[in-house]
């Protein structure tokens, strides 16, 4: 198997005569590979015929289009490759970069103000409000997971389990005991934190990828239990009719003692959206505030030390057991809060909402945002879900594009969108440094 893409020849001066023959050869090989990849899966379509047996139809048109695209794309790339050796920093004009740098300290504040006025600006647009609620929910999940992955460096692929525990806790407690949202919310958080401890204990000794796979297994176990424990969770049918939150006892209904009637407003279903939005925003801000404060406390510093080097951590006398367990429990607790909110927002939950894809999504938000960066989580979640909505009209291609975008972003910026990190604590002046300088847990291999 030969490699069709020799490394770009850097010794060539820019603008040197492009080797037409070599470019053609490259393009032909790429087209051949594309043909091999797509010949059967694109070129042939299988459908169940009237008798139930599979019948095949050929689709040579799309196949030819794919192969041609590969050929032309590679040819153009090969012909113009030497133009791309310009470092990226010259591509963006100096002025723009300076403006961005000057603006960046105020970015977080600006985003906060924007988040606060979203319901005012988009009051009439319940579709956008719903989208905003969804984005902030994922921002909150991202903040929660950021404690586990970004700060403590424990790779958790089953974070959705705590989200599920929170959601089901709220649904079951609220339905069976008739408690209100505000009583159930802490309970859901506490139960999720216990689930976090439950997961934390057995995996204390594991590191890196082993930890990842065990957490993934844990997430799947929770989902399968929810799916099969019919008389408690309703199995695949889920739980419906979960109580909605009320504004200090005033429900968001058109009735006489509802929110709108009490305040002399005309009833509008948007009120509930606005209320839900502010709940989740408050929860997310709480998570953010707690995280930022904890980073300055000994426990937060212990997390970051644990992420950098576990052995050195032990040598310094840090109790790695409690450090890891608190990270798991706290991260899980915030996941549980978000889960309770999710249940009350939709008023319906089923195990389907807690599949591995959700875990991957939240992890992607954390890693693509830049591990450990709160601002990165916000940016990544916003970009990702806006993108999702953009592709809503091409619904079946949505996840395909999502996966491809995930690969593309990580290839382009392996460190995530916000790849600088302010040290949590420093002697004189807090400076931003690239994460590469901090994190030495590089994968092996010739760089």
């Amino acid at each position: 198997m030969s490699d069709p893409s020799p490394a770009p020849r850097e010794d060539e001066p820019a603008g040197a005569r492009v080797d037409l023959l070599a470019a053609l050869k490259e393009a032909v090989i790429t087209a051949a590979v594309a043909f091999g990849l797509f010949a059967l899966l694109i070129g042939v379509r299988t459908e169940q015929g009237p008798t139930g047996a599979l019948i095949i139809t050929t689709r040579f048109g799309p196949l030819a289009a794919f192969v041609a695209t590969a050929f032309v794309g590679r040819f153009i790339f090969a012909m113009t490759r030497h133009r791309f050796t310009v470092p990226a920093k010259f591509l963006v004009p100096q002025a723009i970069r300076q403006a961005a740098a000057a603006f960046s300290p105020y970015l977080a504040g600006a985003l906060l103000v924007f988040a606060l006025v979203v319901p005012v600006v988009f009051y009439g647009n319940s579709y956008l409000l719903d989208l905003a609620i969804q984005i902030v929910t994922y921002i909150m999940l991202g903040f929660g997971l950021n404690i586990v992955v970004g700060l403590a460096g424990l790779l958790d692929l089953g974070y959705v389990a705590f989200y599920a525990v929170g959601a089901y806790s709220y649904a079951l407690i609220a339905q069976d005991f008739g408690l209100s949202f505000w009583v159930c919310l802490p309970l859901a958080g506490i139960l999720a934190a216990f689930a976090g401890l439950l997961l934390g204990f057995p995996v204390l000794r594991l590191r890196g990828d082993y930890l990842a796979i065990v957490t993934l297994g844990f997430g799947e176990i929770i989902r399968l239990v929810l799916l099969n424990w019919q008389n408690l969770t309703g199995g695949p049918n889920g739980i419906s009719g979960i109580p909605r939150p009320s504004f200090f006892g005033l429900p968001f209904t058109a009735s006489e003692n509802g929110f709108a009637a009490t305040f002399g407003l005309n009833y509008s279903p948007t009120h509930r959206f606005v209320f839900l939005y502010y709940i989740i925003l408050a929860l997310a801000l709480l998570t953010n505030w707690v995280t930022l404060r904890l980073r300055r406390l000994p426990i937060g510093r212990a997390w970051e030390a644990l992420r950098e080097d576990e052995i050195a951590c032990r040598a310094l006398g840090i109790n790695t057991t409690t450090t890891k367990l608190t990270a798991f429990a706290l991260g899980a607790m915030f996941g549980g809060f978000a889960g309770a909110f999710f249940a009350t927002r939709l008023s319906f939950i089923s195990p389907e909402s807690f599949s591995f894809t959700e875990s991957a999504l939240v992890l992607a938000i954390v890693v693509l945002g830049g591990m450990g960066s709160q601002l990165g989580v916000v940016l990544a979640a916003t970009v990702m879900f806006s993108g999702f909505e953009f592709f809503r009209q091409f619904d079946q291609y949505r996840m395909l594009v999502f996966g491809a975008a995930m690969v593309a972003i990580i290839l382009y910026r392996p460190r995530g969108l916000v790849s600088t990190r302010k040290a949590s604590i420093s002697l004189h002046r807090r400076r931003e440094i690239p994460t590469d300088a901090v994190d030495r847990t590089q994968s092996l291999g010739p760089a």
Partner: protein, 304 residues
Amino acid sequence: MEYFVQQLINGITLGSIYGLIAIGYTMVYGIIGMINFAHGDIFMVGAFLALIAFLVLVAFGITAVPLALLIVLLVSMALTALYGWTVERIAYRPLRGSFRLAPLISAIGMSIVLQNYVQIAQGARVKPLPPLVQGGYTLFEGNNFAVRLSNIQIIVVVATVVLMAGFSYLVARTRLGRNMRACEQDLKMAALVGIDVDRTISLTFVIGAALAAVAGLMFLLYYGVVDFFIGFLAGVKAFTAAVLGGIGSLPGAMIGGILIGLIETMWSAYFSIEYKDVAAFAILIVVLIFLPTGLMGRPEVEKV
């Protein structure tokens, strides 16, 4: 007793399929230390390629089962290997030397891409295939229960044993195998002594994908249906098998695969079929607590 023997046979067959997938995980993890999350989906792609290749052969009028099987096997191995190579080339190689989580995220993205690509290209519904290989032997009877060994089970186990033997030979005796073992020990040193590391890693992905394609074909023959989602669960279980056997160890992957297959089958046979996947994951967690390096793995010594 008869029931138990029957479950044993079924479990070993299923375990062989897991073992074949697990080899791909264990080799890649051994060499570059990453979980190739897309490997389960490569297996799924292999199963689809086998299905389509078979239907195309039937359309061309080639219906002699042994010949068709052989062609399907070769075609799906070759094309799936191409997928394995492409995934590595596009999504993993540029990230080599990058930080630890980057390849994993890239792999998760690739897994989503492959799943949805197959779903869009071939539809979301399950694809049934009439049983190609029929018949079997009744080993013995008793208590109104006949222990049967079907031909397809024989094919699965024999193919697995042959591939394992061939693959062990490749790793132990050939130049490529030596390069792979060198890369496993130390990538930088391997590069320094003149091993083409990129090529070796590529070939590792190619071989892993080809073995996954065989597993895919076996799965297709054994169960008779495939859909675009089979890769996730099979992939996670195969990774569990690799960890159980000791990651980086080839016989470990096979033994782990068979153990997972047996656990799953026995659990569904004697306890509850709903919780069979829970059993597999629970076993994984228990094993990792008491045997963090798996059954045949080397302890990971971390030097400061």
